[in-house]
């Protein structure tokens, strides 16, 4: 303790429970620091260490509580709630430390069991090893055995929102949603600032600054309701979320909104280009030098494997038969769709093998496989068209199971009064 400073206030950035969030906590350290205060300092150090190791960036700052920085002779008493909190935090922290140590040693053990190098044993290796040693066919992957960093297993905890003397840190503490409302406040402030700036520019006749193209946010979308709740760790209501969206949209529609782009982007998800992410099938050549591509597709219970030759003559073979394999025209039409979209009707030869399920599943699976195989030959625009029309998406619908106590998946037994 620096004895020449009568007291000091430190802002501790705690990031142990919230992986991507930083919450400020103010801890006043008195000159006659006793054991409890020492402990607090120690705790702060450990948090700082964790902060380094798990900080993933992408934080938003919440304005720190304003604590007046003037000397006082009054002894600050620690409230009972804060004491209890610190005890809980300490025990939790110790438990987490033990868990992490266990995990690190366990990982080395696992590497040893699998005969691999413990120093270069990644989480992917761990997952593979666990899948081999403890195989599980449980349908839900969440129900299968796993070995993960404890920070991914133990849910995050909210950090104390009040100081040692029991005063709330946040000026909006009593709104019950301090983080959320502070953001709304920020939006309003920024909006007002922009308006003022706009007036100023207009008065100075700097129209070229105003006539900038509007923000293009097509490549991103707003955080979902759930994501917003997770971000604030607060029980935000659905209607509050709508309110938030309305305010953000208003901010975005302002002509000078590009000045607040970083702030806006903190609340948006970047959209990834799906068709570019999936690795398309490659063009191969058979013995006769014909170029073809292969792809698999599924729909309901069915599975299909398609070999698509291009250029071709429009010949279709499904399980050794031609298109008359499908007696219903609807099925043939659905097979036609990707070809017509790519404009290659009569220019490709399709050899398909379909198994399991019935004709609907077969045609859906073949359609998906054909669309995927086409991706090898067509250009980016067509690929994007295929993706947007859902040709590259697997139809996730499955047969719903029958429930006990009723006749089918949804249907109930006939109800008779007596």
């Amino acid at each position: 303790m620096a004895s020449n400073i009568p007291w000091m206030t430190r802002l501790v950035r705690m990031n142990c429970f919230a992986k991507q969030r930083i919450y400020p906590i103010a801890i006043s350290i008195f000159q006659d620091g006793n054991l409890t205060l020492n402990h607090v300092v120690q705790q702060q150090r450990t948090y700082d260490v964790k902060n380094d190791s798990t900080d993933h960036g992408e934080n938003f700052s919440i304005s720190p509580p304003k604590i007046e920085n003037k000397p006082t002779t009054k002894t600050i008493t620690i409230s009972r709630a804060m004491k209890a909190y610190m005890e809980r935090a300490k025990s939790h922290d110790n438990m987490m430390k033990a868990e992490v140590a266990d995990y690190e040693i366990g990982k080395r053990h696992l590497a040893n069991i699998m005969g691999e190098d413990p120093d270069n044993f990644t989480q992917a290796d761990v997952d593979r090893a666990i899948e081999y040693l403890l195989p599980s066919g449980l349908f839900d992957k969440k129900a299968r055995p796993l070995l993960k960093n404890p920070y991914e297993i133990f849910p995050k905890r909210k950090v104390a929102q009040f100081s040692l003397d029991g005063r709330p840190l946040h000026w909006l503490y009593f709104t019950a949603l301090p983080n959320f409302y502070s953001i709304l406040h920020d939006i309003t402030c920024k909006m007002e600032d922009l308006k003022a700036l706009e007036d100023k520019l207009l008065s100075e006749n700097k129209t070229e600054d105003l006539n900038v193209p509007p923000l293009n946010l097509a490549s991103s979308e707003w955080l979902t309701y759930q994501q917003l709740k997770d971000k604030f760790v607060e029980k935000v209501q659905e209607k509050d979320y709508q309110h938030f969206l309305v305010m953000m949209e208003r901010l975005v529609s302002h002509p000078l909104s590009h000045r607040e782009l970083p702030f806006i982007m903190a609340f948006r998800n970047m959209l990834t280009n799906e068709s570019l992410d999936t690795n398309p099938p490659q063009i191969e050549y058979d013995a006769e030098g014909r170029s073809f591509s292969c792809a698999e597709g599924t729909r309901k219970d069915s599975w299909a494997y398609v070999k698509l030759y291009m250029p071709g003559t429009g010949k279709v073979t499904i399980n050794g038969k031609d298109l008359s394999y499908f007696t219903n025209f609807l099925y043939r039409e659905s097979l036609l769709f990707p070809l017509s979209l790519a404009g290659v009707i009569g220019q490709v030869d399709i050899e398909a093998e379909a198994m399991y399920g019935g004709p609907t599943g077969h045609c859906g699976a073949i359609r998906l496989a054909v669309s995927r195989a086409l991706c090898a030959f067509v250009d980016k625009d067509v690929k994007e068209k295929l993706r947007l029309t859902g040709m590259l998406t697997r139809d996730p619908r499955k047969r719903e199971r029958k429930k006990p106590g009723q006749e089918g998946a949804r249907k109930k037994f006939t109800w008779k009064k007596r």
């Binding site: 040693i105 366990g106 990982k107 040893n112 069991i113 005969g115 599980s136 055995p145 796993l146 297993i153």
Partner: protein
Amino acid sequence: MAALRQYSPIVNDIHRTFLTSLSAIQFRHLRSSTGHRQTERNERELNDSDSFRVYEIEGLRKSKEEKKTRRVAPKPFAPRYRSMPVDQDWTNVWPSAATFKWATVPFPVRQGYIKSSAENEGVIPAKYGNLELMKGPNFLHLTPAHIKKHCAALKKFCTPWPEGLETDGKCRHHFPVESITSDYVFAAPSIRDERARFVTIKFYLSDLELDYHARDKFIRLVGTRYNKDTDEVTFESGRCPLKAQNLDFLKFVLTALYFESWKYESWEKLKELSDMERYFWDLNASRKKCTSLLRTIKSLDDSSESNSDKLNYLPPDVSDDEALCSLPEVNKYKVAIEEIFNEGENIDTINQYKNAVKTLLNINSDVV
């Protein structure tokens, strides 16, 4: 009194030693389990005041202070994995297949479905006492190190692959008959298993020396045991109690079938058209119809004056069936029709038949 008080610690000590041993003896033979407790209480009383102790009769007066002390469970040993070195030999820890043991598995694996954060505080259950982990199968006994050890142990039983049997073709040439047997190893008082008696032998029919008749008879005798597509014959037997007997039996069956196939019994002459294994045009009505048709055409051709559109390939004399059938046009027709029946219909065989009929009857079109 003051003097006494002054020495009171000493007095107390003496008293204490004396009384302790006394009460211990006194109570031990009465109630061994409460002896220690009683001593403690007396001791406390002696410490609290200098008054004389009061003899307390057990059970006479219920004391409020008396509490049942709970027996402290012995602290469990630290689980085994705590003392494991990180570079241990896992095959010694987990030598054979066993149920998942939380204390032996050294990594903190977890399993269990957490519906929401309300369930188990949102934490996936750890391995301690985790039934899910115990229920599922594990391969902790089949790690790469295990497999290496197994292979090393088995290696002394292995012999090099015999020379001259490098390819499947050579194997088939030297060992045309393949026999398949099974042995069953399991933990039971008996080393016998009923299923071990089954013997299967396989061979290719083309490896046997058979002529057309014998081959046909062999196929008819073995029935469904012959696979037409692969040309393979499969016999299976479990009728005798021992494996060796079954193998002998199958060898006998094979020998008997072979020699039986070569025999030509008198009743085999009674074979009718419907009994035929293939379509023989020479035996069918088709040949008779064809020759009579050709004869009719010949007579009609002879009687007509014009020379056009006659069947020119017919010889002047058509009375002999054999001569007619040996004509190339008729022979082509014969081959075509036999192929349709024996090899099945497809575009090739049907077109062959069509062309044969066209040449046979002199049917032509400008458009083909």
